[in-house]
Structures are given as structure tokens and as C-alpha cells.
């Protein structure tokens, strides 16, 4: 598989270099909203959506910035784009799909400070992806985030029923669980044939 083929980019962001478990991006929501499976699911839907919108807008913005040689404004414009994309998504959802808004509404503002979103925008620029590669990359990263957070939520729901020592309360246990999950994800290295 070619390293710049769309499928490879998708798989790479989804499994091999999972955004949460290998690149440590988006840890705040990963720890914060992974207690219940249904909230985790809604959060990942919202993240995938915002990631897609902001990644494509960041691609456009970067073209403009490169044309005018204004690369030093990249970071400021990306973060502004993400903040407005979140607001826009929030407003559009409220207007057109009130049911979806009720389900996802409270997670949307949280996403502004999700480093995975800015991470996608920055990495796609550094790696000089074209438009379709950006789409594949952002979808892979979003689905990968969803997978990680859902796995975590499932594990934590099971652990609710287990008798644990007091010191493992709160985030300490989540971190160790994440470590084990991350170790299993290392097994995906090499996926996609000899190109890795």
C-alpha cells in the first residue's frame, strides 16, 4: 500500500497512530466524558463532525495564507476557524435538527479546546496533504478518537462493578487502562503491508 494512498492515511490516523492512544491528542474529553457509553458515543459523533468541517476549512485557509505568504498567521487563523466552526455547527444544528442538538449540544463547546481538532489541522498542513487526503485523514482521526473513547467507556462501565482499592479512584485508573489500551494498539504497527 502506498503511504500517501487515501486508505493508508485513513488507517494510519484511525489505528496505527491513533490520535488518543499514540499521539496523546484529545485527552481532556477522553478522560472527562468516558464514564458512560452513550455520552461517549454522542461526544465522538460531535467530534467527527467538527473535525471534518474544521479540517476542510483549514485546508482552504492554508491555501490562502500560502498564496499571500502569511504562514506566521497560520496558528491564529486555525484556532479562529475551529472556534467559529464549532459555533456554526451549534447554530445550524439548533435550527435544523433540534433532536440531534439536544443530544450533542452540551458537548459542542467542549470541542473548542479539544487538541485533536487543532492537531488534525496542523498535521495535515505539515504533511502537505491534498484535499482528499485531508478528508481521509480527518475522518480517520475522528473515527479513531471515537473508537478509543468508546473502548474506554466500556471498560470503565465494567469496572464500576468491581471492588477496587481506594487509591485507584478518579483518573489514576483511567490512565493505567489507557496505557494498556495503547499497548494493544501498538500491535497495529505494520498494518498496511511493507510500507510502514
Amino acid at each position: 500500500m502506498q503511504p500517501d494512498s487515501l486508505i493508508f492515511i485513513f488507517l494510519n490516523a484511525f489505528l496505527i497512530n491513533n490520535f488518543v492512544l499514540a499521539l496523546f491528542l484529545g485527552l481532556c474529553p477522553f478522560v472527562g466524558v468516558s464514564a458512560k457509553r452513550d455520552t461517549a458515543f454522542n461526544m465522538s459523533l460531535a467530534t467527527i463532525f467538527v473535525m471534518f468541517v474544521s479540517s476542510t476549512s483549514a485546508y482552504g485557509i492554508n491555501l490562502i495564507l500560502q498564496y499571500y505568504d502569511l504562514e506566521f498567521l497560520r496558528l491564529i487563523s486555525f484556532i479562529a476557524i475551529i472556534a467559529s466552526a464549532v459555533q456554526l455547527v451549534e447554530m445550524a444544528m439548533k435550527k435544523f435538527t433540534p433532536a440531534l442538538f439536544r443530544a450533542l449540544g452540551i458537548y459542542l463547546p467542549l470541542i473548542t479546546t479539544n487538541c485533536a481538532i487543532l492537531g488534525v489541522a496542523l498535521f495535515q498542513t505539515f504533511r502537505e496533504y491534498d484535499f482528499f487526503q485531508c478528508v481521509a485523514f480527518s475522518l480517520g482521526a475522528g473515527v479513531g478518537f471515537g473508537l478509543a473513547i468508546m473502548l474506554m467507556a466500556g471498560l470503565r462501565e465494567k469496572l464500576e462493578l468491581v471492588n477496587l482499592p481506594n487509591v485507584t479512584q478518579a483518573a489514576a485508573l483511567s490512565m493505567i487502562l489507557a496505557g494498556i489500551l495503547s499497548m494493544t494498539f501498538m500491535g497495529f504497527a505494520g498494518l498496511g503491508g511493507g510500507s510502514v
Binding site: 484556532i79 487538541c115 487543532l118 496542523l122 478518579a170 493505567i176
Partner: protein, 225 residues
């Protein structure tokens, strides 16, 4: 009003030390985890990341505090983000001009300081309500506490994963390094262990307090009888 009482309390070292230990951003408040785990595979990277974060935290919070009467509430988050992004861009270029090797080792994570929730959180929760000197002091404490946490993680990971500290070989060459410590799982597990340690210390402290109170109650009972 809580703000009024807070500004009446005298300026003291407590504002500074709070961030270092009692309200440590990483170990106690779980803020800014992404850079904490991503760049701490060596002590030198941890120190560089800490220094960059202190610079951004102090400068942006000082500016937010200076402009706090001027910024309308409705657009405060947008304004804070712009201010933070400005200082991060500055630090990005400054690090490039100091050392390209360091810049390459930290990769995209310098730019990701923008979304470090610690900085935005402190801007909104503290800098927006407090005078500038107090803000700078508090931000400095928080920044140092953050750096302390990064170095704690980086130290353990470098020592176990490479057998060295700050690039100097500590263990003998017979030492078989725990390579996994340098890889992502090691980051999660080391942080988990530090959190366990902190939980244990906290529990020991509270159980001692309870024991001490019980002892006082007991002695009072003896006195009254």
C-alpha cells in the same frame, strides 16, 4: 461577593505556591494532559515544553488581566484564544531561533500549547478577575507546577526507558532499557502511577487528620469525665 473578599486577602506566598503543589495542574487538577504525555520522553524535552508553557501562561494571563475591564463578557473566550495564539506563535519562532534540534524534537506540540486547557482555564478563572501582579504570581506558580509535573514524568520515563538522565548515562551498560517507557503506553502508565502516589499521599493525610481529631475528642472526653 467572593471577588471582593479575595482581593482583600493580603498578597502572600500562598498565591504562588498553590500551583506548585496543592493545586498542581497535572497531578491534582488534570489540566493540560496532551503535552504532558506527548513530549515527556526525555527530561530536556520536558524542560523545554515547561519553559515554553510558562512563557505563554504568564504573558497571556498578564495581558488578559490588564485588559479585564475592557473585554466584554460575550466575546471573552474568543479574545483569550487570540491572545494565547499570539504568544504561542511568538514562542514557536523564538524556539526555532534558539535551537532547531529542540524545535524538531517538540514537533507540532509547541503549536498545540494553544489548546492546553490549563492556559485558557487560568485566563478565565483567575486572570479575568484579579489584578495583574497577583495574576503573574499565580501564573508563575502554576507554570512551575506544570513544569515540575513534566519533569517528574520525563525523569522516570528517561531513567527507565533509556537508563539515562538529561542525556547522561546513569545505569551501567548492562542495563536492559524498558523501551516501552519511551513509547505511548509508558507515558500513560507512568502518569497513572504518579496519580496513584498522589492519591495515596492525600488519603494518608486525611486519615491522619481524622485520627488527630479523634484523639482530641477522646482527650476532651477524658477531661470532662
Amino acid at each position: 461577593m467572593p471577588e471582593a473578599t479575595r482581593s482583600e486577602t493580603p498578597m502572600n506566598l500562598e498565591i504562588f505556591t498553590a500551583g506548585l503543589w496543592r493545586e498542581n495542574p497535572v497531578f491534582v487538577m488534570m489540566l493540560g494532559l496532551c503535552p504532558t504525555l506527548a513530549v515527556t520522553n526525555s527530561v530536556i524535552n520536558s524542560l523545554a515544553m515547561g519553559a515554553a508553557s510558562i512563557f505563554v501562561l504568564v504573558c497571556s494571563n498578564a495581558l488578559v488581566s490588564a485588559l479585564r475591564h475592557f473585554i466584554p463578557r460575550q466575546i471573552r473566550i474568543t479574545t483569550y484564544i487570540i491572545i494565547i495564539a499570539t504568544f504561542v506563535t511568538m514562542v514557536d519562532y523564538i524556539i526555532q531561533s534558539i535551537s532547531l534540534d529542540l524545535y524538531n524534537a517538540l514537533g507540532a506540540f509547541i503549536q498545540l500549547i494553544v489548546v492546553n486547557c490549563l492556559i485558557l482555564g487560568r485566563a478565565d478563572a483567575y486572570a479575568a478577575k484579579n489584578p495583574i501582579t497577583r495574576t503573574v504570581l499565580s501564573a508563575l506558580g502554576m507554570g512551575l507546577g506544570f513544569t515540575f509535573a513534566l519533569v517528574c514524568l520525563g525523569g522516570v520515563r528517561e531513567l527507565l526507558g533509556a537508563g539515562s538522565l538529561l542525556g547522561f548515562q546513569i545505569f551501567s551498560s548492562n542495563y536492559q532499557p524498558w523501551v516501552v517507557m519511551l513509547l505511548p503506553p509508558g507515558g500513560f502508565i507512568v502518569l497513572g502511577c504518579w496519580l496513584l502516589l498522589f492519591n495515596w499521599l492525600k488519603q494518608r493525610k486525611t486519615s491522619r487528620l481524622i485520627a488527630a481529631e479523634e484523639a482530641i475528642d477522646h482527650s476532651r472526653q477524658i477531661e470532662t469525665t
